[in-house]
């Protein structure tokens, strides 16, 4: 079966018996987002799981070549961005390459009982699954109603209890700062959100899109799939460009298509 399918020159690999003719295109990450993006991973196992889940690969049947290549691409990106590259990522890279090279070696036809000669991916699979299980458990744990966040324990004032003075430690002060920081962090991110939707940037995008083409239809300059806020910003940018006489907006008659071109 394998020989037949592989005979076709377009087939890069077989995934679960299905021929793969194209490499996935969705590995691209906008460079400016990379730092935050990688920061969202909890480590090499988390990154590997993401790659596997993102491409709907079967954990029990990891195509080592692809996975290793993608992983190395991320590691290269991290180095290029001069992110603090944790040793764990490099260690995992070494492990992936080791597994891949062992898979290239001829293997005994039958694995013996001791597991010698068994699939070199087995240990990696075990770790990935165990990590994923704990990752899900952590999410569930975080969703449980928690005192102080979802409800409060009640203790009303009483003269008796007041006599007992609460004791605090330096760590309690630290904990209090943590709460303050968490809130400050939310505010900080709001600023990032604003930059993301800068009218200036949208103006640049419109001007870019109009390069080359003489006229473009008004509606093609908008990307409704990005959401209402993007539409609003794009529209503001369009008005701004018209006000600055950098684009010309025309419509031949009522309800006819509106066209935009560089002024």
């Amino acid at each position: 079966m394998t020989g037949q399918t592989l005979a076709s020159p377009d087939v890069l690999a077989l995934i679960n018996g299905q021929p793969l003719t194209e490499l996935p295109h969705d590995l691209y990450i906008p460079p400016e987002a990379l730092a935050v993006y990688l920061g969202a991973f909890e480590g090499p196992l988390d990154l590997l799981l993401y790659l596997i889940r993102r491409h709907s690969l079967d954990v029990l049947d990891i195509p080592m070549a692809r996975l290793t290549a993608q992983y190395m691409e991320y590691v290269a990106l991290m180095r290029k961005q001069q992110l603090e590259l944790a040793a764990e990522y490099l260690l995992m890279a070494a492990l992936l390459i080791e597994i891949k090279s062992r898979m290239l070696l001829p293997r005994p036809v039958q694995a013996d009982d001791a597991g010698e000669g068994s699939d070199p991916r087995a240990e990696l699979v075990r770790r990935l699954l165990e990590y994923e299980q704990m990752k899900l458990a952590a999410e569930n744990l975080d969703e449980l109603p928690r005192v102080g966040r979802d409800y409060l324990a009640v203790s009303v004032w009483s003269a008796e209890v007041e006599k007992l003075l609460p004791q605090i430690s330096a760590d309690d002060l630290r904990e209090a700062w943590l709460g303050l920081l968490a809130r400050a962090g939310t505010r900080r991110h709001h600023t990032v959100g604003r930059q993301e939707l800068s009218v200036r940037e949208a103006m640049g995008q419109i001007l870019n899109a109009l390069q080359g083409d003489l006229f473009m239809e008004f509606t093609t300059l908008f990307e409704p799939e990005l959401g209402v806020s993007h539409l609003v910003v794009k529209f503001l940018a369009m008005l701004e460009l018209a006000r600055e006489h950098r684009v010309e907006i025309t419509q031949n008659q009522d309800f006819a298509p509106i066209y935009v071109r560089l002024a």
């Binding site: 009640v154 209090a176 943590l178 990032v192």
Partner: protein, 192 residues
């Protein structure tokens, strides 16, 4: 106001009063409701609430700085028999105020409100002053001449520290705060 509305109002008031660690002012209580309640309505509900608790172990007390539930004197003997395994805790508001004074001293009340984003209850400053953990050391020369607070030697000794610079450093705390959940979503849109 209908009877149901008044009943609901009282349930909410009872809940916030029982769970608040500091006395609540009428203004604070009004701010809790979606609609604008008149002060008269609020007072009426509080009066009824007080009556309803008349024969129980707690009383709704009016203090200089607000309203709170507290245990009646006659029930103290029961409370004395409970030996709490752990002493009580200060509210988050108290701890955050103390943390700000400790790390940013000298600060005014305005500074603290700026950082916490909420009004500082007078009771909080009083609690900390009574504990002799903070003190006013003068005024900032701006309109209103607000008092400047610093921490005391008593606080350091209660925390078992020799000097302020032995407080846990702030720099390393950043990594423990969860990244904004929206960040991840934002970045992933670049992926789709």
């Amino acid at each position: 106001m209908s009877i149901t509305r008044l009943t609901e109002l009282k349930i909410v008031l009872e809940t916030i009063l029982l769970s608040s660690s500091e006395p609540l002012t009428l203004e604070q209580m009004r701010g809790v409701f979606d609609e604008d309640l008149g002060v008269d309505m609020l007072r009426r509900a509080l009066d009824e609430l007080r009556d309803e608790w008349q024969h129980r172990g707690l009383e709704l007390a009016t203090l200089a700085d607000g309203w709170r539930f507290q245990t009646r004197q006659s029930f103290q003997r029961y409370l004395q028999r409970i030996n709490p395994e752990k002493p009580p805790k200060y509210s988050r508001a108290v701890m955050e105020t103390l943390a700000i004074i400790a790390y940013k001293q000298p600060v005014t009340r305005g500074d603290i409100e700026e950082i916490r984003g909420v009004t500082v209850n007078t009771q909080i400053i009083k609690t900390l002053e009574q504990r002799n953990w903070i003190k006013a050391v003068g005024h900032r020369e701006v309109p209103g001449r607000p008092a400047l607070y610093v921490t005391t030697a008593q606080l350091l000794s209660d925390l078992n520290l020799r000097a302020l610079d032995e407080l846990p450093p702030l720099a390393e705390l950043g990594s423990l705060v969860a990244p904004n959940p929206y960040t991840a979503q934002l970045d992933l849109t670049g992926e789709e």
